[in-house]
Amino acid sequence: MPAIELPDAEAQCTELADLIRPHLRPDTVLVGIHSGGAWVAGRLRHLLDLPGEIGLLDVSFYRDDYGERGLHPRVKPSSIPFDVEGRPLILVDDVLFTGRTTRAAINGLFDYGRPAVVQLAVLADRGQRQLPISADFCPWRVQLDPTQELILSTGDDGHLRWSIADHA
């Protein structure tokens, strides 16, 4: 597969915020999935000028590949500093791929209460879903080889950047 040009992730955060803005309700809260989704959620909170704190979710305890891969070596504490009961939530992740992380995150969220609505916002949708899950807000749809991993990271300058690792 020829090398693809990777877009500016920071500019995509702005695009994603623009997609979300018309759908915001006064009590909407963001929940970022560790770690890429947490960074994106942090950007969105600022861009959308949301007053409250964002939630952070580590889905390690809810993953369905725990039997094969074990516990993630760097589990981070989840922090949901608001009552999710009856709230509209937007779940934020960097990449939507098989949908299994989203499934785990929804399971995790429901252990905190029963939200009114859960929507999904991602920076990139790379297809090849294995579950009936789709993004409500997404600025970038990209086709990649299954052996390629799309990675969001922050550099020393704190800037979000895309890279691709090939596991072929």
Partner: protein
Amino acid sequence: MRNPQLNTNGELTHLLSIEGLPREVIIHILDTASSFLKVSAREVKKVPLLRGKSVFNVFFENSTRTRTTFEIAAKRLSADVINLDVTRSSTAKGETLLDTVDNLVAMHADMFVVRHAASGAPHLIAEHLRRLGKDSVHVINAGDGRHAHPTQGLLDMYTIRHYKKDFSHLVVAVVGDILHSRVARSDLHALLTLGVAEVRVIGPQTLLPTAVAAMGVRVCHDLATGLRDCDVVIMLRLQNERMNGALLPSAHEYFSCYGLTPQVLALARPDAIVMHPGPMNRGVEIDSDVADGPQAVILPQVTFGIAVRMAVMGILTGN
């Protein structure tokens, strides 16, 4: 020599002792425990990590509290927990330890939490499982003889890190019956592995192992001298059965020499924390004014213990 706690990939597969555990494994357990601590504070105190797994608490020696904390930890991970009081059943009928284990393996046990009066019993079980090729069955030592009580050692380290953040500048004293204490042994190995500045053991000559100084700890026979400028004071339970032998004159005399009172605690640093693995003997090793005072972190230790045991179970079952 092969480390019996690690699998061929170098991952933790049994928890038998703190001795020989790499520093990064200990840190990984403590880091993971901090995530589990948040689970216990939620409305739904459960995650599905060990759903469908069977955890057998096999206690050849009585301990309601330790068994209960393991049971709570396993249940918060959604495991099915089976408590066996083997002292009153199979062992009393003459069954050997390994026959008991074989029977439970035949019932598709995924994890054994073992307490035994004989040092080395959990290791024996782990080696037996390895010979059977049962690599997916894990063993946690919940206290064996005078040897080790690794989850207590880990929860003590979690407690120290919670209050003191960094280990490298700390002076930590372990006070009491070091000789018979598996908790003391696990704490000493953990403290030395984590690189605290100074570890002191304080107790009467009769209750200290003869070669304990060779571990790299400072030995004190005087409580006041030993506590000076300490950041952490770990009190040990004085087991009543020790009173009957020639090791100690009386509980009253022990308290007057080694009991932790507010007066003697004042010699430690003003922000020193006081820990105790429980159950406490008030008026024997610790004064009620200290046990209930602002420096005691004995009940937080219990809360952290659940999270640490969840972390150990979660990590082992995944490896």
